[in-house]
Symmetry: C2
Subunit: 239 residues, 2 copies
């Protein structure tokens, strides 16, 4: 299957549904057959990424390698991973991957730079913050990164785990408060640098899409552009 | 991966997103790791099922067989197909399949019988109606099946293809009118016997869930029950 995109998902499942939905809705297609071919692994027994980095939990790398290889063996020509924290292991995964592996942080940063804004809020997991995945890249572009304070960050994590446990409403209330706090501290846009956050803040994004840059959508757009090049099509992107 | 469920999707992609979302939201889980492992094929170049049956289009069977075998080779122990019309080829697919293959019509009929209602409306593709997939089973249980008249059925098909082409709003308006017509003709509940229809009528179902029995959800529940047996768990189903 020419142009088959593999999705190494399950981290978590709801974020993987969100990515799949964005692939379908961001593709301009007038029939089933014009949509982008996807093979989605949502095998969620991969050890928790944040726990591995912050609490000495089991490493997710062996399971991620295993499921990535299955996607390759099944014919995927390009792989995307809808989990920002998992990108701590990006270089190791790329080394064991024989096809194109798109990077969610790069895809998101491209959209941050294109926005023309300078004060960039950041909602992400403790581990993503701790590793500096986004802050370093944002500051390397001469922009200012505004992350939650210690107490606020605890609420961000409570919200993310609430969504993973199925309590979307509790997750939404907690996260909207933290987004408001970042805007109050001068953020002009907020990077949703955890793939659970666009699910949690879906309503706020619908109301004011120009205030958010979300990593799942950025990676989907990068995937659609990869597919366009691979099969020689253009104008597949609706947004 | 013990209990891996393969989803032979892409028929169409939006219906496959809906199935994936239902697997996630219908599973009682307090962390990523407790969710059901899924491998989802959304390779949509499978020839149109209705066109194959009604207009002598290409058969979708070879492509469905190919993608089903890939799911098996990647470790799926049970396969579900979120497309009712594709179930015309169910017996052929079962013959070439070495693992469990769950049937969407059987899963849906079980829920129809459990509802205790006797006048059953039916929204499905021309091909599903033409083959009598649902009518025969409904009538075999001594129940009355109420399908749209010829003109109404044309609107049903226009609605389904509108969703496939990305026009969800036009699809919704057309389909709600046909649902209302079936209720007006005495339907106590309506079977949504095409996996695009639950996507199109999502709002109407949220408002009055007791009036609809939808095939995607029925198949997801059957899949979750299969998984419970396979891994020896109980109480995974939230709805």
């Amino acid at each position: 299957m020419k142009g088959l995109i593999g999705v190494l998902g399950g981290m978590g499942p709801a974020a993987t549904v969100d990515m799949f939905n964005k692939f379908v809705t961001f593709t301009s297609a007038s029939s089933d057959q014009q949509h982008i071919p996807l093979l989605i692994s949502s095998i969620p027994d991969i050890p928790d990424r944040t726990a591995a980095l912050m609490q000495e939990g089991h490493s997710p790398l062996p399971a991620m390698r295993d499921y990535l290889q299955r996607l390759e063996q099944a014919g995927a020509e390009c792989i995307v991973i809808p989990c920002n924290t998992a990108h701590f292991w990006f270089d190791e995964l790329r080394q064991s991957c024989h096809v194109e592996l798109l990077n969610i942080v790069e895809a998101t940063l491209n959209e941050v730079c294109a926005s023309g804004q300078h004060h960039i809020g950041l909602l992400a997991t403790n581990a993503t913050l701790y590793m500096g995945l986004y802050q370093q890249a944002i500051e390397a572009h001469g922009l200012r990164c505004i992350a939650p304070d210690r107490e606020g960050q605890e609420q961000v994590m409570e919200s993310i785990y609430a969504l993973k446990a199925g309590d979307a409403e509790h997750a939404r209330r907690l996260m909207e408060r933290q987004a408001d706090a970042l805007f109050a501290r001068g953020a002009q846009i907020i990077v949703l640098g955890c793939t659970e956050v666009p699910v949690i803040l879906a309503e706020a994004q619908r109301a004011q899409p120009e205030r958010y840059i979300e990593s799942t959508g950025a990676l989907v757009r990068a995937g659609i552009r990869w597919y366009e090049k691979r099969v020689g099509k253009t104008d597949l992107l609706t947004q």
